[in-house]
Each structure stands twice: as C-alpha cells, then as structure tokens.
Amino acid sequence: MSTNRALEGVGTFLDDRLHGARGIRIFLRKIFPDHWSFLLGEIALYSFIILLLTGTFLTLFFQPSMSTITYHGSYLPLEGVKMSRAYASTLDISFDVRGGLLMRQIHHWAADLFMAAIFAHMIRIFFTGAYRKPREVNWLIGITLFTLGLIEGLFGYSLPDDLLSGAGLRILEGVLQSIPIVGTYLAFFLFGGPFPGNDIVPRMYILHVLVIPGLLLALITAHLFIMVFQKHTQMPGKGRTNQNVVGQPMYPYFMAKTGAYFFFIFGILALAGAAAQINPVWLYGPYNPVAMSAGSQPDFYMGMLEGALRVFPAWNWEVLGHDFAFNVFVPALVPLGLIFTGAAVWPFIEQWVTGDKREHHLLDRPRNAPTRTAIGMAVITFYGVLWAEGANDIIADHFNVSLYLTTQIAQVAWLVGPILAYIITKRICLGLQRKDVHLLEHGVETGIIRQLPSGEFIEETAPVDEEARAVLESRPDYEPLPDLGGTGDVPAPGMRGAVGKVRTRLYNLATESVPLPAGNGHRAVEGNGHGQHAVEGNGHAAPAEVSSGPDAPPADGEH
C-alpha cells in the first residue's frame, strides 16, 4: 500500500505540473501488432543505441589527428613504425585500454548490424506495401536514414587511418575527381589539398561523431513519432481490418518484450565482439599510399558500389576538351542513385498507376501483389549481383574460378538477372495464389482416406479455419481506374492518349492476380464457396464477418 501511495504522490506531483495522466494512459495502452518481420526495424533502432553508447566510449580515447608519430606502444610488431596519431590511438584503444578492443569490436559489429537491419526492414516494408498512404513520409525518411548510414559507416571505418580504409579514401578521392567541372575542386576541399593531406581524419571525425549522428537521431525520432501517431500496420488475419489494430498493449507486454529484445541484441553483439574479430587494423598497418594488399574489401554495405566500379567497362571520353571518367562517374553514382530515387518515387508511381489514394493499414502478403514483389526481387537481384561482384576476388579465390570470369559473369548477370528474377518471382507469386485458391476451394488434406460403400477411395479434406481463411482471402482491393467519362467499350477521353494507354496497361500489370473462388473475397454477399469435399459443421463465421477483410468497402474509412 505504501508503494501505491508513493506512486500516487509522485504521479500527482508530476501531473499537477505536466498534465500527463490521460496521454500517458493512452500510450500505455498503445497496441502493438505482432509479426516477426516487425522486429527488423527494432534491430536497427537498438543497434543505433548501442552504436551511440560504444561510440561515446571510443571518443574518450581516440585522437583524430594525422600528425605523424613513431610508435612505441604495446603492440610490438609495429614498434618504431611511423604512423598517424589516429592509427596509434586506435592501437592504444585495442591493446592498452581494458575493454577498449571489446567496445571497438561491438561498435563495428553494431554498425554492420545497423545497416543489415535497415536493408531487411526496408525490404519488408516494400514487399508488404507498408509504404503506402499514409506512410510515404516515413518511407522517405527511411531512405534518407539508409543514405546517411552509408556515409556514417564509410567515415567511421576510415577513421583509424589504416592501410585498408586509406585505400577506400583514395577511391573516394577518385570518385570525387570524376565529377564533371567541380570534381577536382571538391576533392581538394574535402582533403584540404592533394590526397591524403592532413585534414581528412579530423574532418571525417566531426562528421562521424556529431553531424551525421545528430541527423540520424533527429530523423529516427521523427520516424518513430510518425509511426506511433499513425499507428502500426498489421498483417491480415481474423478480426484485423483496415480500421483497427489488433495486438498486445505497450504496458506491460511490449515494454517487457522489447526490453528483452534490446538485451538479446546487445548480448549477441557482445558475443560477436568477444569471439569474432573484426577490422584488425594492427594487421593492416598504418596507411601509406605506396602499399596495398590483395583481397581488399570494404564493409559489406559499400560492396555494391565497389562491385559497380569493378563491373563497368573502361569507358573514358573526352567531352568538350575535358577528361570525363565515365567508367568511374557512372558506376559510382548511377546504380545506387537509381535504386534510391526509384524507391523514393515508387509509392507515388504506384498510386498513379492503380489510382489508389486511400489509406492502407492492412499489409499485403507479398504473393498478393505479384508485380510489386517481382519488381522488388528484380531490384534485389540487380543489387545482389553488383554486391557479389564487389567481392569477386574473394569468390574467385574460394571457388577456384578465374578472376576475370567472375567479372564477365557479373557483366551479363546484372542485366539478365533482374529480368529473370522478375519473371520467376511473378510466376511463383501467381502459383502461390493458385495454391491459396485451391485451399479455399477444396480445403486442407486431412490425411484420412475413406472407402465409400461403392469401393471407391476418397481423401477427406477439411475447410480451412477462420483464421487461415481471413489470411487466404486477404487481397489488395483495387478499384477500377477512375472513370473519366467513357462508356462500355469506348475508353474515357482521359485514357485514350498515349499516356492513358500506358496507364491502362500498367494498371492491368499492377493488379494482375488469380481470381478468388466465386463467393469469396470482394464484396461477397453470400456463400463461402467451400469445395465439394468439405466436411460439414466446421463452425465458420457468418458471411458478413468473412468479408470484413481488407476488401470491405470503404477501406478509406471516410464515413
């Protein structure tokens, strides 16, 4: 009882001044729908928190200076070697600060996990259509976070000024120089003169520990606020509609689960930091522009850029009497630029093609949006080929194939692969839809074989239960393209021109699916359309409830 009184006392004190009881009560009861894929974004969030914690520790010891000293520290193989203070202090963190190596390794693993989680989260958002209205803004924030994460990571692993990351900076210099007209100036301003200069490490340092993390923190905060405000999306299921959220409340359930999840992620990263060596800069040696070793690889999230640079043909042209390094400028900026720009405009393109301006809170199963899923897989294949090509020397070495062959394969695969991925994915999606339709029509095989009096054997099937039915029947509810005045077979005036024809074709492509069995799905009025072999008395819900899926008009909730 005294606890209660204490709580009441503190609560009253705060509420008298801050007025929180109602708002916080609503927040405590905020509903979190459950699905494993919803945890991917949380991995990114918690990795970021771990990055802030471990990164702050590292700043206490790291010296972002390129002035040269002669090393006389604990790591004897480098005794007497000239190196920058940045490199020397990284050695000191690793060998002379207790827990320093652990924090360095957790920091680096967490950075890799951060980027990997963003990748996976973004893919999940795309394939389930979670970016649709009203969540386009959060989708754009997400793409910005991804881009910032790439730069933050590049600067972070370049800070120790070791041989490997120095080569990465050299490549950055070359890429900057390839930019027409201003490239050479950009490179000189960034590096404070000719490469490598003495300025790049302190400059990257302040960007890495203050500017970019500040932007990341602000954008992540906005990302989460918008998510809370708009409420979560949910996967289709029984009782889940476009107008509700079904799940467990924030307090105490989600709090306890997400706390556990944070500890798991921190625990796994600590395990990685303890047992899995990452970025052993003492083995690479300090940077010098004369040396380089085979098998140089950037961190995985830069691999796609690296692969694009490797795969592109050696085209270098003179433009207006100037040297234009097509072979650098195009692969460094175009493939990733296309993916990011394409991702950013995709929600709006899809809205235009389908004419669908409604809010969507119920997610699509990837199979139910075959064209979107196929495009997603094509982009992933495009990215994946270039990413693998970024490690083609490692692949050639481990699989004992010719180095040049790996590049030649990639030169074909980055064009052909996405097309194949598109076709195959689409067929798989439509096949899975057919399977769903089959389940709805004929039910689930029970494994019971029955002999009829006539001697005939039949296998009994059972209709799918309500929960599964709700999932199987969930389909995007496309509206027909807006009627602009056409009648019958005569197309509307707005759909007659070239743009209209393209739009009609794209609409047909985007909405392609296997129709649900008669009586199911869209605006079903009666009947549940079970197969003929259905066992009677399965206790399914009334028709009205069955159709209350995503298909229930009006999905907009404009009433």
Partner: protein
Amino acid sequence: MSETNGPAEPERGEDLMADLAASGGEPDEGQARHRVIGTPAPAQARTLLADQRGEPAEVRELPAGPEDLPSAKRAERAVAACFTIAMLAGLGFIASYVIFRVHTINNVFHSNLALGLTMAVAFLALGAGAVIWVRRLMPNVELTEQRHVLRSTPENKAAFAKTFEEGAEASQFVKRPIIRRTLIAATVPAVIAPIVLLRDSGPLPEKSLDHTVWKRGTRLVVYGTNRPLTPAEFNSPGASLSVIPEGFADNDDALAKAATTLIKFGPDELKAPTVMNWTVDNIVAYSKICPHLGCPAALYEQTTHHILCPCHQSTFDAARGAKVIFGPASRPLPQLPLMLNAQGYLVAQSDYHEPVGPSFWERS
C-alpha cells in the same frame, strides 16, 4: 510471439474447437498448418474491450494473473534464475575488468574474451528472463484499438486556413511586395555565405595534379630501405620493386602520385608500345598509381608480366607499355623515363609525361 502458450494460458474456448474440427481432430496438425500458411497463430485470447452494441463495458482490460498456479510458480523460478545469472555475469564482468590485464596480445585476447563473454551472458540472461516472464506469467491477451482517419475535419481545415490567412493579412506580407522581395533578397547571401566560408578548406587544384615530384636526375630509391639502385643490383629478370623519389620517403602527399614500380625484364621481352629509350638495361618503370581510382597497382605476376590492381582488378601488360588488358582502367600506367647518372645509379630522365592516377576534369 502469439503462438499457443503453456498451461498458464486461460481457457482457449471456441478457437480450439474450431481448430480441432478443421484439422480432423488432430490439434497438432492444425498448428502446423498455421505455420505453413505463414500467419500468426489464432488469437486465442479474448478481445476484452466491450463491443459497440451497447453491452455494459468491461472495467478491466487486462486479466489479473495466471490461473495455473504450479506452472506460474515454475515460471517465476525460471525468471528469477535468469536474472540471478545476469547479476552474476555482470559481477563477473567487473571482476574480469579488475583481474585481466592488457598491454600484450595474449593478455588482450583473454581480457577481451572474459569481458565480452560475461557481458554477453548478462544481457542474454536478462533478455531470456524477460521473455519467460512475458510468455509464461503474463496472461495472453489481445486488444483491439480503432483507428481514426488521419485527415482533419473540414471545419478544422477551414479554421486553419482562416487563421493562416488572417496572420498573412496582419503581417501584410502579401500586400507589401517590396518588403517581401527585399526579405527574400536578404536571405540569398545567408545561403551563399556558408558555402563561401568553405572556400579555405583546401587550396585550388591548379596544375598540381599534372605533375609529380620526379625531376631529371632524381634518384630512384627502394621503398622501405631508401637505398639507391644500380642496374647491377637489380639484375634478375622477372623481379619487381617499389621505388620512390629520393628524399620523399616521409611525404605521403608526394608519394601518393610518385610511387613507381620497377620491373626487370629478360632480353627482348619488352615490346612496343613500351618506350625503349626510357628503359635502362631492360629495366622499365611504371607509375604504381592505378589510372582508374588511384590504388597502388601492387600485384605483379612474373610469368605473364601482368600488373594487377587489387582494388578493381584492372590488369596491365608490363611487357607492352603497361597497356590495359582487363578491367575498368581506361589508360595504361604511365611510364617513367629512366637513365643512369654519372655514378651509375638509376635516375629519372624527367617527370612522367602525362598526369598519373585517376581521371579529372581538367586533365588533358
């Protein structure tokens, strides 16, 4: 997460019956089928919010606690055990910090392992305890919350528009174009100034990328030992060395352009377009800086005479003027003109005759 819980679960009611019916009296198979379809398991719990049909509202949203007491007791002990392990591991972390020294590779290895493992165990045990707590002790519930349309009501929108217009009118921003235009003009320098301020972040490139520090008579010294070379000391065909201009060993800015590869060939192995006048005794010198993106083209294969850049695998034929035979590089490695000085040491005849390293706009 929402899979079937253990005995702590409240009665499952109709859904279980539906499952049984659906799967032909075999509940396990029913569960398996759920997973195949890839959806969360059925919502076993009750939706505890009152529905909208005017039934009396429930006072409680969440049930008080588990009904199966022995199972709850077991779960409680498991949670407490996990938290105890976490505490012990945490203490172990502090102890490891005190016990394990660093300063040698071996010590660091042990310290890192002890600190990391205790930390991992502490966090993983905390997480495991919390998960057991949620899943075995807290009664499984599922609540439903209604969404509201995000779009504002027409009244609110109209009120907003009115307020905004009133403000605009009161400020007379629209009515007085001269204020508006001069204000906009005033912000232009504020946008440009920060960019101008960055001007001194580096010198202008001017012609600095066109040249390296090599000059007529600069001795080639071996990278690492800084010893000058005579052809007699470098006489086994197939050998290659990294050389730098004498006096610049500590100047990374100079070396980033001047690093050079020296290769000794056998008689008659060097072919056009190698400039033979720039070789001495079948010793040829090429820039080590890859014309693609500036990495040191550091790998040399004796049997094929190929120079390979490890960054993007541009490959150059050293016997034929370092012309490109594979990869993204668009130009051969520039050749450094060599000669002997009066003392018989290898020296440069001149700087490279073209800019070394990656392309840039002003390169001609």
